[in-house]
């Protein structure tokens, strides 16, 4: 490799007088050493804050490391015990199912579908209506989680909640009776902006003449979506689903509303790990679950990337 890449250097030098201090063949004229110099700071940061903790997590996952007690001072390697324990743990499996519900309900169905519907409805609109709608949806997205969580608690509260006041049904405990539904709707509301913006940009790429050709053939809106719009924005749809699935899978903000309760009925994996590792102090076990989550994320990403890749082959 080194030989191959350094050969142009030599030919440039040998070819004739080179003005300036940089005889490098690359586009920016940096040369390997300086190019590497530019890379070093970010590489160090990535190594320090991403690679090392990840490796450390994998290591912790095979130990019985705890926050307190004997194991905190002298953690012992326990092999795959944490993993077998997690996989046979009822609470973990419950949590996994809830997480999948959360991802499917709030990301794939909620954010992606609602985001597309809004983007499609607004696609030809200009002016105040569009700007106001976009502003409100964006606002939900850019507000800090803690603020948003407080707003939702205020909305859904049993005694003084805005929703109960609006519906005229005081005493309805939304967060206790429908905890999963509450956080799914909350996360849909919160994250739709991203899908909407991504789809709005994608729809700009659908040529008008294609839609009009379909209209002239007599195609209904559904047929236009099927035959013209979706084939055109397939890549955008998959990318969007990939991103929001991963974000939702790892999302922690539902904890701020339901804290995983009541009785672990909204305890998604991110919340479960937090409770086990930090509240329960079982860092080794938590690390193992974190690593399982990482693997699940990888699987999700691979599935989407496979679908994207197949699209490129077909095109």
């Amino acid at each position: 490799m080194v030989q191959v890449t350094s050969r142009p250097d030599e030919t440039v030098e040998g070819a004739g007088p080179v003005t300036g201090p940089s005889p490098a063949p690359d586009a920016a004229g940096l040369g390997r050493a300086r190019a590497a110099g530019f890379l070093v700071p970010s590489m160090v940061l990535i190594l320090l804050f991403l690679v090392v903790p990840a490796a450390w997590t994998i290591y912790l996952g095979v130990t019985n490391y705890r926050l307190t007690g004997l194991a905190a001072a002298n953690p012992e390697v326990v092999g795959l015990e944490n993993y077998t324990r997690a996989l046979s743990d009822e609470r973990f499996r419950n949590s996994l199912v809830l997480t999948l519900q959360f991802v499917l309900g709030s990301a794939v169905i909620g954010q992606a579908c609602l985001g597309f519907a809004i983007a499609y409805a607004l696609r030809d609109r200009r002016g105040p209506l569009r700007r106001v709608v976009e502003a409100f949806i964006l606002l939900a997205w850019i507000l800090p989680s803690s603020v948003v969580a407080f707003l939702w608690i205020a909305l859904l509260d049993r005694d003084a909640g805005t929703l109960n006041a609006l519906l005229g049904m005081p005493g309805m405990a939304w967060l206790l009776d429908y905890p999963m539904l509450s956080i799914i709707i909350f996360n849909t509301w919160r994250g739709t902006a991203f899908s909407m913006m991504l789809y709005a940009a994608a729809l700009e790429n659908v040529p008008r003449s294609h839609l009009e050709t379909a209209r002239l053939a007599g195609a209904s809106t559904g047929q236009q979506l099927r035959d013209v719009v979706f084939p055109r924005i397939r890549g955008h749809v998959l990318t969007n689903l990939l991103l929001i699935s991963l974000w939702t899978f790892n999302d922690f903000s539902p904890f701020l509303i339901t804290a995983g309760g009541p009785e672990q009925r909204s305890e998604i994996l991110a919340v479960y790990v937090y409770k086990v590792a930090l509240s329960g102090g079982e860092l080794g076990f938590g690390a193992a679950i974190s690593f399982i989550m990482l693997l699940i994320n990888l699987v999700i990403a691979l599935i989407y990337l496979r679908m994207l890749g197949r699209r490129k082959e077909r095109a």
């Binding site: 003449s209 009009e212 050709t213 209209r215 053939a217 013209v228 084939p231 077909r314």
Partner: protein
């Protein structure tokens, strides 16, 4: 097959732009009809209004004996070929051609058979399983035409059909298109900004400006007798010479010479009247020797256009601009070009001169002339 009848057709956009201004037009059954005009004249809007992609603000559109003014595009029985061809990139050529049939719920075997036969007519059989991205521009255009033909519409609408092809292919496609239209005999309306394309292809041409039609006629009529100075300046690869002139009895004072008034308009001019004298560069003869009844001036520019050259002369202007000069262009066959700086004489051929008063042709057939549009209107969609 059907005629198209437009009555008082008006399109005003929400921003107040009046793209079509109470337009009346009849396009005969089986006719190859061109909408010609500069960009922003409303020709594309007119085509899209016939298609139903734009809803008119007033007036009516009839196709055959049906009033389609408020019908959606899918029910008008028209097919349109867009400038970019609008082929669906994820479908094969076969599926693209069969697409309108699929929407009309024709069975799969039937529509594939129909697509294959249509493709065969256009010489696309070998390409049926390709995707549009693997085709050349000319092939893509033929696929778009095949898709339009496959469901046998009453009317074809073509938006700038040749503008996306390179120059050599354009000539080929032009001939192909004209022959195809002849053979199919389907009423066809196409939009173009290229006057040569309109002259070459169309049975009749409507020249548009500012949302109105300035002249409708056969290519010969529009070329030989432009109804007004706008059409005169727009039609022809070299624009018509339009020189200010004044009527002096039986003669016209043009560029410091006296020319006889053309016979057909002799009775319609009054002495002393200010008019515009129009003659095409092709209908002027250049001579390096003095000639009687010739405009004379100094050669300023010589543009070589292959088998002929376009020579511009500065001739003295008539009052009230006495002392100034005005430019006259003349076509000179190859081998006889003058040099810039030479003095030359140009003689109009008899029967080819036109007289315009207030921008309108005098002695023109009355129905061809349409008054000038209000200024500041019109936009191409």
């Amino acid at each position: 097959m059907a005629a198209i009848t437009l009555r008082e057709l008006t399109k005003v956009y929400p921003n107040g732009v009046r793209a079509l201004d109470a337009l009346d037009l009849e396009i005969a059954d089986g006719e190859f009809f061109a909408l010609l005009g500069p960009s922003g004249c409303g020709k594309t809007t007119l085509l899209r209004t016939i298609a139903g992609l734009e809803l008119s603000s007033g007036g009516s559109v009839r196709i055959g004996d049906r009033d389609v003014t408020s019908l959606p595009p899918g029910q008008r029985d028209v097919a349109m070929v867009f400038q970019d061809y609008a082929l669906f990139p994820h479908m094969t050529v076969r599926d693209n051609i069969a697409y309108p049939l699929r929407i009309k719920k024709v069975g799969k075997a039937d529509r594939q058979d129909k697509a294959a036969r249509t493709a065969d007519e256009l010489g696309l059989s070998a390409l049926l399983d390709r995707r549009p991205g693997q085709l050349s521009g000319g092939q893509q255009q033929r696929v778009a035409l095949a898709r339009a033909m496959a469901c046998h519409p009453q009317v074809f609408l073509l938006d700038e059909p040749l503008s996306n092809l390179d120059a050599r292919l354009r000539l080929e496609a032009r001939t192909f298109l004209k022959r195809l239209q002849r053979e199919l005999g389907v009423t066809t309306v196409f939009v173009t900004h290229d006057q040569a394309e309109a002259l070459a292809l169309a049975d009749r041409i409507a020249v548009m400006e500012g949302g109105r039609i300035r002249q409708v006629g056969t290519p010969t009529e529009v070329f030989r007798r432009p109804a007004n100075t706008f059409v005169a300046g727009f039609i022809g690869s070299t624009p018509m010479n339009l020189v200010p002139a004044r009527v002096r009895g039986d003669e016209l004072a043009v560029a410091a010479v006296r020319l006889p008034v053309p016979e057909d308009v002799r009775g319609e001019l009054t002495d002393g009247e200010q008019v515009v004298y129009g003659v095409r560069p092709e209908y002027l003869d250049y001579s390096p020797e003095p000639a009687s009844g010739a405009l004379t001036g100094q050669v300023v520019v010589v543009e070589n256009l292959g088998s002929f050259s376009l020579v511009s002369l500065d001739v003295p202007a008539e009052e009230p601009d006495a002392g100034a000069t005005t430019s006259v262009q003349v076509v000179v066959p190859e081998g006889r070009e003058p040099e810039p700086g030479d003095t030359g004489w140009v003689t109009p051929r008899p029967g080819r001169s036109l007289i315009y008063r207030d921008g309108e042709l005098i002695g023109s057939t009355a129905e061809a002339a349409v008054p000038a549009p209000r200024t500041g209107v019109g936009a191409d969609a």
